[in-house]
Every structure is written in C-alpha cells, then in structure tokens.
C-alpha cells in the first residue's frame, strides 16, 4: 500500500499499450461497448448475490433459525446534568461500539462475548456493578454515564472518553430499553459520602482490623492479592467464574472496577458490586469506620504512591495492632483470623 505516487502523476507518459492504436480497436467497438457494460454489471450482481448468500449462511450457523425481530427502541431518556439523552439517538452508536460484546438485544450475547472474561453486562436484567446507589437498586444515570467514560478495569470494556457528553447520555438512555425494570422502578438514591478524615496510622490500623473482621481476606487474601481461600470458588450471578480484585497489581495508574479515587473505593464496598459475590457493607460499617478501611486498602496497593503509603512508611512500614478505645459493653469473643497481617 502506498508506493511512490509520482508514478501516477506522470503515468500518462507511458501506459504500456503503445503497440495498439484506436484504429485497430474500431472493429471491436460494438463488442467492447457491450463488454464494458456487461462485465461490471455481471460482477456487481454476482457479488451482490454472494453477499446475500453469505449473510444467510451465517444466519444458519446461529442457534435460532429465522429472521431476528427488530429491536424496539422505547422512548427512554437519561438526564446527566442539563443534558438529556434519548434512546433513539443512541441506537447508531450502540450498534457501532457496544453490540459486538453486549449484543444487539443487550443480552450480553454479542459475537465477541464468548471470548471475553469477564463476560459483558447483561442489560436485560439491569444489574449493574458500579453504582452510587444501594445494592439491589438501579443505578443513577450518572453512574452509567461515568462507567462508559471510565471503562471497567480488568475487563474488555474500554475507556469510551472520546464520545461527546451528549453521545454518552444517549447511550445511557439506549441501554434502558433492554430491561422492563427501567419502566417499573426508579433509580436508587445515591449514598452520602462524608468528608474524608485525615489519614493516620491509627486509621490504617483500624482499617486493617475491619479487613479481618469483615472477612475481606477470605476472597481478597491477607495481602489483598486476590488469593484468599474462597477466591477459586467465586462465580458471578450467571455462574461464570470470577476473580476477586488484586490490590497489589498495578502502579500509580491502577484503577478499581468502579473508579480510582478514595471516594470510589468507599462507594464500592458500601454499595457492593451487584452481580458478583462482593456484598454491600452499608449496614455493617459506620461511615468513619468505612474511611479507615479505605485507608488500609490503599496500603495494599504497594506499588502505588499514596498518602496512605507515606503514612505507613513514616511508621517504618509497620501497622500497629488496633486497640479499640471504645470497646462494646459486652465481651466480644468473635476474634477475626488474620488480624494484624
């Protein structure tokens, strides 16, 4: 591809046909007129019918024989700030960018899905991992909008930040057409994230104790490397094997499935990752305790520069055992394994 175009610039000087003249072609003019018309027409028609047969053949390869019903685009909308997305306007981009994995019908059965791990989201059940809303509820439009722009780490979902905001809002509206939940339910209310307290060695220590008490280690491993005793047994809600997050991988650019900031970590374990074994801890952790857990989780990212790791380094890399200054009145014999590791 792409040879020196100068040849074409002056190619009229030599066309390799100097031995023929138009006089010698004259007796053939009638025949050539027919041929010049017939050849391209025949070629095009052959190619056209071949296209049709090709398409039919591929249709027969699919488990459901017969024409697929058209996708009914319901008049769904999304609201992102002052932008209103319309499903009808998202149809084109969905087909171009999304359908290969998520499927034309949003059922996660795109032609690439079989090769993907983890599997793409099934929009027909409207269960979403990344939410600011409580577990079991629908995410906000902004949650979906952010997921499209952020991508999903450790998956094949790219960072679609080249769209305009309007295009992303239209896509959010479009994926709502696949599940009746969007017509029957409203999105959940976003959780409130309190201001982050200062990072201290005490907060890290308390977070470590929570990590043990809440049995996070059973899946994520004692060092957060995703190698806990239960890790190999985990499956998602569609029985596909799933791996817990490995905090130790990656450097300064490491991301979580649903964001990269401390607020994002807070949100992840307070709302849970629906469709996976990662539960919501909103009912069992107080907000300040949750921040302590965030601070500890950051120290598991050993290759990442963070204020949490700075504090830990200042403490010579040793997390002191947590001492509860306000122990519960009843004796607590429920000691967590792995504490202090």
């Amino acid at each position: 591809m792409g040879m020196n175009p100068l040849a074409t610039r002056f190619a009229s000087a030599d066309f390799g046909l100097r031995v023929l003249t138009m006089n010698s072609l004259k007796p053939m003019r009638f025949i050539s007129a027919i041929l010049f018309t017939a050849i391209p027409c025949t070629a095009i028609l052959v190619l056209t019918f071949a296209a049709g047969f090709t398409a039919r053949a591929s249709a027969q390869d699919e488990p459901l024989v017969g024409p697929k019903p058209p996708v009914v685009v319901k008049p769904m909308v999304s609201h992102i700030g002052n932008i209103t997305g319309h499903a009808a306007d998202g149809k084109y981009d969905y087909r171009r960018y999304c359908a290969g994995c998520h499927g034309d019908y949003g059922d996660s059965n795109g032609e690439n899905a079989v090769w993907l791990d983890p599997k793409p989201r099934d929009f027909t059940i409207a269960t979403f991992k990344c939410r600011s809303t409580l577990t079991g509820t629908l995410p906000t439009d902004e949650d979906l909008f952010n997921t499209i722009g952020r991508g999903v780490t450790n998956s094949n979902m790219p960072i679609w930040n080249t769209f305009t905001k309007q295009e992303r809002a239209d896509l959010v509206a479009y994926i709502k057409i696949f599940s009746p939940r969007w017509e029957k339910e409203k999105a959940g209310t976003p959780i409130t994230i309190p201001a982050e307290p200062p990072v201290t060695i005490e907060s890290i220590s308390h977070g470590q104790a929570l990590f043990a008490k809440l049995e996070c280690w059973k899946c994520h491993g004692t060092h957060g490397e995703g190698d806990g005793p239960s890790a190999s047994t985990l499956t998602d809600s569609k029985d596909n094997p799933i791996r817990p997050y490995n905090f130790a991988l990656g450097g300064n650019d490491s991301r979580f499935k649903c964001g990269s900031t401390n607020q994002d970590i807070y949100k992840i374990f307070m709302t849970g990752v629906d469709g996976t074994p990662m539960p919501s801890f909103a009912d069992v952790i107080q907000p300040n305790d949750a921040w302590d857990l965030v601070h500890f989780l950051r120290t598991l990212q050993v290759h990442r520069h963070s204020k949490e790791n700075e504090v830990l380094m200042a403490a010579h890399g040793v997390i002191p055992p947590y001492v509860d200054k306000n122990p519960p009145p009843a004796a607590d014999t429920n000691k967590a394994p792995g504490g202090g590791q």
């Binding site: 591809m1 792409g2 040879m3 020196n4 175009p5 100068l6 074409t8 002056f10 190619a11 009229s12 000087a13 030599d14 066309f15 390799g16 046909l17 100097r18 023929l20 003249t21 007129a33 010049f36 018309t37 391209p40 027409c41 070629a43 095009i44 028609l45 190619l47 056209t48 296209a51 049709g52 090709t54 398409a55 591929s58 249709a59 932008i83 306007d89 084109y92 981009d93 087909r95 171009r96 960018y97 359908a99 290969g100 994995c101 032609e111 090769w115 780490t153 998956s155 094949n156 790219p158 960072i159 930040n161 080249t162 769209f163 305009t164 309007q166 295009e167 239209d170 991988l249 300064n252």
Partner: protein, 499 residues
C-alpha cells in the same frame, strides 16, 4: 495497494448503463444487508468490532485515533502481550482483487503501410479494462510490552515485489504521561486526514493530491506529506485525545532507503489539532500543520559503470529550503455525515523549481531505479544537476501554490459508507516567468461506496466501487496562453479483504 494507472470516461450509452447498473446493485446491497471491518490483529486482541475504531475501515474514528495515539493500546490492564493467548499472532494480511477500467491520453506511434518504423506520433486516448490485483500487505503491529509498541508493514506491488512501507517502534506514555510518546523509524506523518488509511483505491483517487503536489518540472520530491518518512517523532495528546500535538525530525529522503537522496539534510513536520464537543453533532476537530525543511539539489555521480550517471549515495549537497503549511478540519454533522478539509500553501526554493533535487530515476513502470541511462527521456529520468557552479536561468523564482482537499462521507450504517472527494491544486507562482499560469493545476474528483456484508472482530471484507476523474493542466496552450486540462479516469470495483 493503489497504483493502478489511469483511465477515461465511458461513452455516453455505456456510462448510463454503468450508472444504472451500479445504482441497481447498490440497492440490492442495502437490501441484503445483515450485519464492518479493522486490522483483525487488533480486533482479535481486544475483542472489538472493526467499527469501534473505524468509521469505515481503514479510516479511523475518534476512538480509533486515540487507540493509535496510545500506541495501539486501550490503556487497560490487558495491553501487554503477556495477556494474550500464546497462539495469538499480531499479523493481518490484506489484498484486493479488482476489476477496473482505465482511460488516459498517451503518445501513440503512427505508421505508414509497409513501413515498420514509426513515422510519427499522435496524442490519443487509450482505454482498457480487465481484472487486476492490488499488492499484498502484511500488517503486523501491537505491543511488545506495556507502553512499548511497534508497527511493521512489508508491502508488495501487484507483481509481488516487496518493500517496507512502515517500520517503527514507539515508546508510549513516558513517565505515565500521554503527552510523552516517541517513535523512531519509517512512519506515516501525523496527518489528520490519513492517506495510508484512505478509503480510496484508484490510482489517482487513492492518494491525496494535496499531499503530493509538485509543480511541473519541479525536482523536490521531499515535501510529500502522504509518503511514509524516516525520522524521529514526538507525539503528545490529552487523555481523551481531544488535544493532539506532534513534532517530527525527518531525513529529507522521502522515505527512500540507503541515503540515495537527501543525505545530510533534514526536515521538520509539526502538527497541532484540537477537538471540540458539540453535543449531538459530535466532536469537531481543527488543526494546523507545517512541513519545513531542506534537501539537496546536487549529487555527485559516477559514470564508470557504463550505465549512465549514477548518483553516489550520501553525496547530496547544495541544500535548499521548502515548506508546506496548512489547516485541517474534521467536521461531523451527527453520526452519519462528516466533512474533512485540508488546505495547503506550498513553496519550493527556485532551484527545486528548475528541476534540481530528485536523484531517483524511475524505470518507466513506476518503479525506482538508481540509474538513468537516457536522461533525454524526460520526467521518467532523474533531474541530475551535477554541474558545480550551475546558475539558475534568469528570473527563476520560487514556485508557490495552494491546495484544497474536501472529502465528504455519508455513513449509512457501520457497514455501508458513501464517499466523495474533490481536490484542487492551483499554482500561484511558476518557477519560470512566462510559463502558463495554470500549468500543473489539478482537479481531482472521486465518488464511491464501500460495503461490508458482515461485521465481526475476526476478519474484514468489503465490496467497493469507485470512480475517479483526474484533470491536470499539462496539455497544449489555448488561445489565452493557458494549459489545457487532460482527463484521466478510472472506474473500479473489487473486494477488499483482510484476515
């Protein structure tokens, strides 16, 4: 690919029939549409449809542009090849069988009966048609490690003679910044309207004339933005790729190997473009570029071999300057229609304008040869000006010109695209006073379609049809002392596939 010579318009009845046939076929194509295509090597790696990166393969959309700018990475945790199945081989083959009809003016010998020696020649239009073939491309590219990428493209002409169209390695995201990327090797310049990713395959339509324009008689082959060049490129971009900047230091050798041309002379290519979010219309992008440099005008030669004056590699001297500056625009009117615009103001030093510079001879069939046994053969021979102390003709001046490219695309669906191009190249100052003011001007028109009957991440397959009309003002002077335009046309249908 490309490089099928030129052609001409059908006679009227044939033209009408062909147009009707094409229209009929297009309707059938649309009706038979079921479910477009990329370098399957990348698509296979990431599991994305071709349409995710390509407006219509091989032209990139904004997401594909970001992917390329990131060094063929999606910037996730799976960019490194260690994530791939060991059986994964990042290679794509591309070739295009075609039928085409060419028509162009030629100098034809005339004879008298019984006399085998030509008695003269006439200018005559010759048309020919038939089945043909493009060259074969081996695209191989991807990551060697996270943030270290490569691209190698051995490419053949239709006879199977190979050359290295692209060979480069790139270090991406240095210090974790998308603003720091370095590339070394032979590569396509950072042209927003990429010629190497053109949707066009005819001989004259398959290149952007604005990128290659050279005044008639000008010997400067070095300012061709469309050719892959040797050099070192810095490239930076914002995370969302809306802002892009690049600067490249290039050898002034037009991508030719072995330092036959342009030794000891360098050029610079600089670009900047910015995208703007315009809601439902899409991302509009505008930018500017400058290609400035110097190249040799004299070459030392060696005639001792008996094959004529052979330029001695690395002997170029007498560097003179040239420049190409202009603007880009990429304008979307919603997801279905976009317009790409490129402008250019070009200027060559007067020496180039008088034919100094090009030391590459052509062999008469478009191929390059290092020798030219018969300099009297005109433009197919090099412009060797190895006469120390040569002075320019009186009044010689720098040739200047302006170029415009407009390419419109209507994307009916990710599988079917209609396209049209108009290019105009206009001389604003000839190198030699008294030369017809329009000598060398070009009008270039192309229309066509491209249809992908299926859309997967495994292979690409497209039916395409194109018509190109190329007009260059190199004919006899008319009564107004203007050069007349000569028409060359090509009608082309084919199957473009890669796997």
């Amino acid at each position: 690919m490309r490089m099928w010579a030129q052609s001409h318009l059908c006679q009227k009845p044939q033209r009408v029939s062909s147009v009707l046939a094409a229209a009929f076929a297009l309707i059938l194509l649309i009706l038979s549409s079921h479910s477009a295509s990329a370098l399957p090597a990348f698509a296979r790696k990431y599991g994305l449809r071709c349409s995710a990166c390509h407006e219509s393969w091989p032209a990139l959309n904004n997401f594909g542009l970001k992917f390329r700018d990131n060094g063929y990475q999606l910037m996730n945790e799976r960019d490194s090849p260690i994530w791939q199945n060991p059986g994964y081989w990042p290679v794509t083959f591309r070739i295009t069988p075609i039928w085409h009809r060419l028509s162009s003016l030629n100098q034809v010998d005339t004879y008298t009966p019984g006399n085998l020696a030509p008695t003269g020649s006439v200018t005559q239009r010759i048309s020919s048609s038939g089945f043909d073939l493009s060259g074969l491309d081996f695209h191989t590219g991807g990551t060697l490690e996270k943030n270290i990428s490569f691209y190698v493209l051995p490419s053949s002409d239709p006879t199977g003679a190979f050359h290295f169209e692209s060979v480069n390695a790139r270090i991406d995201n240095i210090a974790g910044s998308p603003w720091l990327n370095i590339r070394l090797g032979r590569f396509e310049l950072n042209n927003l309207l990429s010629e190497k990713r053109t949707l066009w395959l005819t001989g004259n339509g398959g290149i952007y004339q604005t990128y290659h324009f050279i005044p008639v008689g000008d010997g400067n082959i070095f300012g061709q933005m469309g050719d892959n060049q040797f050099g070192l490129e810095y490239m930076g971009h914002s995370v969302d790729d809306k802002t892009r900047v690049s600067a490249a230091l290039l050898s002034s050798n037009d991508g030719n190997v072995n330092l036959i041309t342009g030794a000891n002379s360098y050029s610079g290519f600089f670009t900047f473009d910015q995208g703007f979010d315009t809601g439902k219309l899409g991302v509009q992008r505008v930018g500017a570029y400058a290609f400035v440099g110097e190249a040799a005008t004299y070459y030392l030669t060696n005639s001792s071999g008996g094959t004529g004056a052979v330029p001695i590699p690395g002997s170029g001297i007498g560097n003179k300057g040239f420049s190409r500056v202009g603007f880009y625009g990429q304008f979307y009117l919603g997801p279905h229609f976009d317009l790409n615009v490129v402008t250019q103001h070009g200027e060559d030093n007067a020496y180039f304008g008088q034919g100094y510079g090009d030391a590459i001879a052509t062999d008469g069939n478009g191929g390059a040869t290092a020798t030219c046994s018969n300099p009297a053969n005109g433009p197919t021979c090099p412009f060797l000006n190895n006469t120390p102390g040569t002075t320019l003709p009186t009044g010689s001046r720098s040739p200047t010109w302006n170029g415009y490219t407009f390419e419109a695309r209507y994307v009916y669906s990710p599988q079917l695209i209609f396209k049209a191009v108009y290019e105009a190249e206009r001389m604003s100052q000839q190198a030699t006073p008294g030369t017809a003011s329009n000598l060398g001007n070009i009008n270039n028109y192309s229309i066509g379609y491209r249809y992908n009957p299926f859309m997967t991440s495994r292979a690409g397959f497209a039916y395409f049809g194109e018509f190109n009309l190329f007009q260059d003002a190199v004919g006899p002077l008319n009564s107004s002392n203007k050069a007349t335009y000569q028409n060359t046309s090509e009608l082309l249908f084919g199957i473009d596939f890669d796997f």
